[in-house]
Symmetry: C2
Subunit: 243 residues, 2 copies
């Protein structure tokens, strides 16, 4: 019986993949993923069978993986970043209930939060939250409550999916909520196209972030009360006490 690897390929660059992720793709007959991610790895794994489905067809993509494995092929289902962070790992286990004989193994990867943090300096050194601004599967009220609680508790906050065509003003709405507890001069940053062509970053204040345009390839960082701008780097200290 074949096995399915659910593989986080990291933010984009081949070199940011783990050694075991690259090995799993090398050992697979079939590599399945969203078109954009398959295009990111294709050149490094010549001769493999590549299968893709569009972004909204996630359940169908999972089922495809199990059907290919049922034919005796070894399969890698790839996700950008880490497959377990807003990725396909959970859905694979849910769909996998229909295929109890096919083993699934998740191989972790570098998620956009920590890859983006490395570009910026060290914003996530202390307690932090990841919050997705996408309200496709989550009621906005839930997202709003999380933004408020995370801000009140002085977490560093990293926002995924800060914008899309239908949600142009969501980052602004999120900033207005965070500004209830975080001061206007809180150190913030955006990183775009992490580990890919066109990678770029910008450090700014929360007040400036509120009026910054972002797209779906942007990851947003909001500091805690201790986060500093050190020569253009966003750096959060290890704690609140000077030791």
């Amino acid at each position: 019986m074949s096995k399915i690897y659910v593989v986080g390929i990291g933010p984009g660059a081949y070199e940011q993949m783990t050694i075991q992720a690259a090995q799993a793709l090398k050992d697979s007959d079939v590599i399945i993923g969203y078109t954009v991610y398959v295009d990111l790895v294709k050149e490094h794994f010549a001769g493999k069978e590549f299968l893709t489905t569009p972004m909204t067809k996630e359940t169908q993509r999972c089922r495809m993986a199990f059907e290919e494995a049922a034919k005796g092929k070894s399969v890698s289902m790839i996700c950008s970043g880490d497959a377990g962070v807003y990725g396909m790992a959970g859905l694979m286990y849910e769909v996998g209930k229909d295929y109890p004989e096919i083993p699934v193994e998740v191989l972790p990867g570098v998620t956009a939060a920590t890859a983006g943090a490395a570009v910026l300096g060290a914003p996530l050194i202390h307690d932090f939250c990841l919050i997705s601004l996408s309200d496709l599967l989550t009621p906005w009220e839930k997202i709003e409550a999380r933004l408020l609680h995370a801000s009140e508790a002085d977490f560093v906050i990293c926002l995924y999916n800060p914008s899309s065509r239908k949600r142009k003003d969501y980052l602004q709405k999120a900033c207005d909520l965070m500004l209830r507890y975080k001061p206007e001069d809180t150190v913030c940053a955006t990183v775009v196209n992490i580990g890919r062509d066109g990678q770029d970053s910008q450090v700014m204040t929360l007040k400036e972030l509120r009026d910054t345009a972002v797209d779906m390839f942007t990851t947003v960082f909001i500091g805690n009360s201790q986060t500093k701008n050190i020569d253009g780097r966003m750096v959060t200290p290890r704690g609140y006490k000077d030791v």
Copy 2:
């Protein structure tokens, strides 16, 4: 002028390091780190100069890296997991203010949260917080507030440093706080020695977690209201709406 790489080596296993992290270590003259982490990589990078300092001498370790680089050597400062998550990346930029001519680059790695998540199933698929229970540099009141706010906002929570010799009852205290907002049957889990010899995991309820003994090599996961136990796997759905 030489360069310093601040390298997250992943949870422990060589294969969970990224390709670029392994390359940086290969290209370095000197590899510096806490003794335990240097021992994890030593066999894979024969012929390198290895320098270590004990756990509490972090500032000294950073200064050592800059001093070695100032001699013209290329240096890798290694951390377990990701150097930017409770790691040395921030301190390197702070100490680096005294060495403005030496460039520092952070190479991200797989942090214990996502590596542990991959062992367990998919607990971190939706919004989550990382909270360290160590009150060495952070007032306990701050940690307490974060546990309460994160629980009230229904975040998945991942706890780092859940215990130490001096803080034997901290996980119990943390569970009592989380139980104010999260039900007793919330799906939780512990993972110990992620990616290392003796890796082990256990899925349980929040009530059971409260009375579970953990050590400093344990990472703890507390689900949100939607997290399920699917055949012993801890799985959080992608949202709250059935799509």
